[in-house]
Amino acid sequence: MSDTSETILLVEDNPSDVALTQRALQRASIASKLVVVEDGQEALDYLFGGGMHAGRDVSQLPALILLDLKMPKVDGLEVLRRIRANKHTRRLPVIILTSSKEEQDVAAAYDLGVNSYIRKQVDFVQFDTAMKLLGAYWQGLNEPPPKVRSQ
């Protein structure tokens, strides 16, 4: 059985942001496997085994979700809402990673139970530093919730 406990799920529709994040995580020697989905709907499909991810073993959940806010189809806040509403995923660590500067997005994300909210740094070096700290914190220091056992 494949183990996805070291998987990071990146939900991001902008290809250059995906490339930037991939590169930063590699540079930071974050060994986790990065799974990229391009919009909120695909994120839900991946987590709950729908659509093109039908048949995926959904007992295998990522260790961490990096979630953009502004996305086609289903936006990041709605993805977060559904993650927190499902008993198998409600305690999954979710970090909003966005360029949104809107204060109401920050408040809404915390209200829905996000673990942390990170604003994307425009500067390359700063982004690398931020991702290094983010990776070290959530993949090293933080104690994740115990896996929810299949019923």
């Binding site: 305690r91 920050v106 673990n115 942390s116 090293g140 104690e143």
Partner: protein, 149 residues
């Protein structure tokens, strides 16, 4: 926005000393406020008791919360933080030496943002405190404080 203060709720003098040492080294010592039991943590946050004169519109950027505390336990403090409009969005990191899975589950269920086990090793503890300080003070974004109605 970024916050300015970290509230450390810690009753073990050795751990308090270590955290202060690290924060001094990384120049964040002025951003650290320490209370030593659960009741004082609530007094600080809600401006009661010994902290009756504190300006409670100024909330910390994050609370580092031990679980085993005198007077009021860490989990009860967390429950009350999440139950109050003024603090329900406040990031709370459980910082505990507890190895019990039940503590982990309960902390996340009550809405802890993160759970960090205190490393026993001195060097690891130092690194952990550095990462905690940098992450929650410099990287994490906070919601604006709520205006009073």
């Amino acid at each position: 926005m970024k916050g300015t203060t970290i509230l450390l709720v810690e009753d073990t003098a050795d751990d308090e000393y270590l955290v202060k040492r690290v924060f001094t080294k990384i120049n964040l010592i002025n951003n650290l406020f320490v209370v030593r039991d659960g009741a004082e943590a609530l007094d600080y946050l809600f401006g009661t008791g010994a902290h009756a004169n504190r300006d409670t519109t100024q909330m910390p950027a994050v609370v580092f919360l031990d679980l085993k505390l005198p007077k009021i336990s860490g989990l009860e403090v967390l429950r009350r933080i999440r139950a109050d409009e003024r603090t329900k969005l406040l990031p709370v990191v459980i910082l505990s030496s507890s190895q019990e899975e039940q503590d982990l589950i309960q902390s996340y269920s009550l809405g802890a943002n993160s759970y960090v086990r205190k490393p026993v090793d001195f060097t690891e503890f130092t690194e952990a405190v550095q990462q905690l300080g940098f992450y929650w003070l410099l990287l994490n974004e906070l919601p604006l404080p709520r205006r009073r109605e």
